[in-house]
């Protein structure tokens, strides 16, 4: 006989609700992206597209722009270029953040130097400062450095806003790792730097994988900062480009949905591939 206690039932209901909450919009997005504009706007709603088509994807990726909505997207190939912008900004930022966060986090966790605690908490505290409060100052700073509407400008801002959090995660991760292998390395003839490079870093592999995924997701999804600091398609990431598909008088919903789906794809792949490590790092057991 299968036991089916109330607690079990409740669990299933809650999980189902969460799944519906998070997956339904995506499902709706997929269906809409495969519809024609007419079917997408039909009343009563046609949930399953009667004339499924990949036209929206084709026009986004092909960049030929047979039909565009709103009129703000004017250049051909704008979407693929925005994808490239997002990708290059994310990769560069992640690389820089990882380099700084790993070495700083490790140093704070393992090395003894005066002012360590104070300095560490001073850096970590900056993670609670909302970026909105400094965004005007940031704009001024970047304008002076001629970095407005430049990918490098965005990368620098992301590095400075995300590194403290990443460093904190690395610090906590390193704290959980046993110190003995590094000590063994010191006795085996390593300098502190060599012990870090040859022994500590390889041990941190899964932590670093998780951290990369977290940073990629954070940077890829950034909206406000690039919205304020970019002005042309030369540097706009997808997150800023997509809202421009919403026109003043009319919106091409299938196109909008297709753009959303495409923009979601890279972070989804990253999350799925590194899922195991992310769970480990967030639960503190990796």
């Amino acid at each position: 006989m299968i036991r089916f206690p109330t607690a079990q039932l409740l669990r299933i209901v809650v999980i189902a609700a969460i799944l519906l909450w998070s997956l339904a919009p995506i499902g709706l997005g997929v269906l809409t992206s495969l519809s024609t504009q007419t079917d997408a706007q039909a009343i009563p709603a046609r949930w399953l597209p009667p004339h499924a088509t990949l036209d929206s994807y084709r026009s986004l990726l092909g960049g030929t722009g047979d039909y565009r909505a709103g009129g703000t997207v004017s250049e051909s190939g704008a979407f693929t270029h925005a994808l490239w912008n997002s990708a290059s900004i994310t990769m560069l930022s992640t690389l820089a953040i990882l380099c700084v966060a790993i070495s700083a986090g490790y140093a704070f966790a393992r090395l003894h130097f005066p002012g360590r605690g104070a300095l560490f908490w001073a850096i970590v505290t900056t993670t609670v400062v909302p970026v909105f409060t400094v965004v005007l100052a940031l704009f001024g700073l970047l304008a002076d450095a001629h970095l407005i509407d430049r990918k490098l400008g965005l990368v620098l801002v992301f590095v400075s806003t995300t590194t403290p959090l990443a460093m904190w995660l690395v610090h906590n991760h390193v704290k959980q790792l046993p110190t003995e292998p590094e000590e063994a390395a010191l006795l085996d003839g390593c300098t502190s730097w060599q012990a870090f490079w040859h022994v500590a870093l390889p041990q941190m592999r899964s932590g670093i994988a998780a951290l990369s995924a977290i940073v990629v997701l954070l940077v890829w999804g950034e909206f406000l900062i690039p919205l304020l600091l970019t002005s042309t398609n030369a540097s706009k990431p997808v997150t800023v480009l997509i809202p421009e598909y919403i026109g003043k008088y009319t919106t091409n919903y299938p196109l909008l949905a297709a753009a959303g789906m495409l923009a979601m794809l890279p972070p989804t792949v990253v999350a799925l591939v590194l899922n195991r490590h992310i769970r480990g790092m967030l639960s503190g057991s990796s």
């Binding site: 046993p178 003995e180 292998p181 000590e183 063994a184 390395a185 010191l186 006795l187 085996d188 003839g189 390593c190 300098t191 060599q194 040859h198 022994v199 390889p202 041990q203 592999r205």
Partner: protein, 378 residues
């Protein structure tokens, strides 16, 4: 600088070494200790006694607050671990998880810039000694506890270091494997001959492996000597209680002398004191002392000879048969509150629970301690 950079003895020498942690906790107090070349000295003590700190100071993983450490005739007090030429086996093995066994063992040689073919030869030799040749291409996670232990040993011996340090290397192994590795480490040590400092909290390891055993208690060296010396002639109550299993019985007693007859009165029983012990006990005549009785020096009345044994009266509280012997937990009669007394009797001894019984005490093997200072009286 007129400070000599060589010490008089080779081996591991600690001179008045002190370790004070920030916050004022003193982990090690003025410790002086020498491990001669070819010798294995076991540093034993309860947890928190500072034994691991001593080892880490020799390794250079912990700074020395005061005093001097030298290894193989060279003062290393201020040197980084990599300049000390010591190898250490850690309690949890501390293997490099991402490297194969071969790379683990050869790592120190690689860091020293040794050519690859020579590394290969020496790793093979070390693996051969430890019987792990077929494991060389595996990763540590594919190994059992005992195999990891061997790899950790291999990593230490391949370097031919000036000194060996071992930090409770057997404590993560199960009982059978521990006995096996104990013999193995002793063999390897005899073969390599480097001075070895071995830390453990297990007195069986200390007694079976050490050429000499150093007993550490609250950062202070209580006694150092051969295992037999520590067992036969403990300098104080702490050493007496620490060495020997089950632990020595320590009973408050009164020393009475009337002419030629000397007695220690304990729990209403009078134990005659042999003439040989009297000289040292003279200042305590008429006073309280602490009487030490090893459980193995107590016998059932069947095995007793009148000339050698005294008698105490006690009630059997509990017995444990170990097969080869019988552990009997007694409470002394006429003593309030009654004190527990452990006896290790012949397995055929007949004792009955809750029954008053007579226990023989080997009078030649009584230990006496000053009840105030805990120092041995002899």
């Amino acid at each position: 600088m007129d400070r000599p950079d060589t010490a008089s003895t080779s081996g591991i020498v600690l001179e008045r070494v002190r370790k004070e942690f920030p916050g004022g906790v003193v982990a090690v107090r003025d410790l002086s200790l020498t491990v001669e070349p070819g010798e294995l000295v076991v540093l034993v003590g309860p947890s928190g006694s500072g034994k691991t700190t001593v080892l880490r100071m020799v390794a250079g993983l912990e700074t020395v607050t005061a005093g001097q450490v030298s290894i193989a005739g060279r003062i290393v007090t201020g040197l980084a671990p990599r300049h000390r030429n010591v190898a250490m086996v850690f309690q949890n093995y501390a293997l490099y998880a991402h490297m194969t066994v071969r790379a683990n063992i050869g790592f120190a040689l690689k860091m020293a810039g040794m050519p690859n073919h020579e590394i290969r030869t020496r790793v093979n030799q070390a693996a051969n000694i430890l019987g792990i040749t077929e494991l060389l291409d595996r990763k540590p996670r594919q190994l059992s506890g005992g195999q990891r232990q061997r790899v950790a040993m291999g990593r230490a011996i391949v370097r031919e270091p000036a000194a060996f340090l071992m930090d409770e290397p057997l404590s993560n192994l199960d009982a059978t494997l521990r006995v096996e590795m104990r013999a193995e480490i002793t063999n390897v040590h005899q073969r390599i001959g480097a001075p070895t400092l071995y830390v453990t909290h297990d007195q069986t390891e200390a007694m079976t492996m050490g050429n000499r055993v150093a007993i550490l208690h609250q950062g202070t060296l209580e006694q150092i000597g051969t295992p037999m010396e520590l067992y036969e002639r403990p300098v104080n109550v702490f050493v007496a209680g620490f060495i020997g299993s089950p632990a020595m019985n320590l009973l408050p007693a009164t020393l009475d002398s009337s002419g030629d007859h000397w007695y220690a009165t304990v729990g209403g029983c009078r134990l005659p004191i042999p003439p040989t012990a009297r000289a040292a006990l003279r200042p305590f005549a008429g006073h309280d002392i602490l009487l030490g009785l090893r459980p193995e020096d107590l016998v059932s009345t069947h095995d007793m000879r009148d000339s050698e044994h005294g008698i105490i009266q006690a009630t059997v509280a509990r017995t444990e048969s170990l097969g080869s012997e019988l552990l009997v937990y007694l409470s002394l009669n006429g003593d309030t509150p009654s004190r527990p007394l452990t006896a290790r009797l012949d397995r055929r001894a007949t004792v009955h629970q809750d029954t008053p019984t007579r226990i023989g005490v080997n009078l030649q093997r009584l230990y006496f301690f000053n009840p105030t200072t805990g120092a041995a009286i002899r």
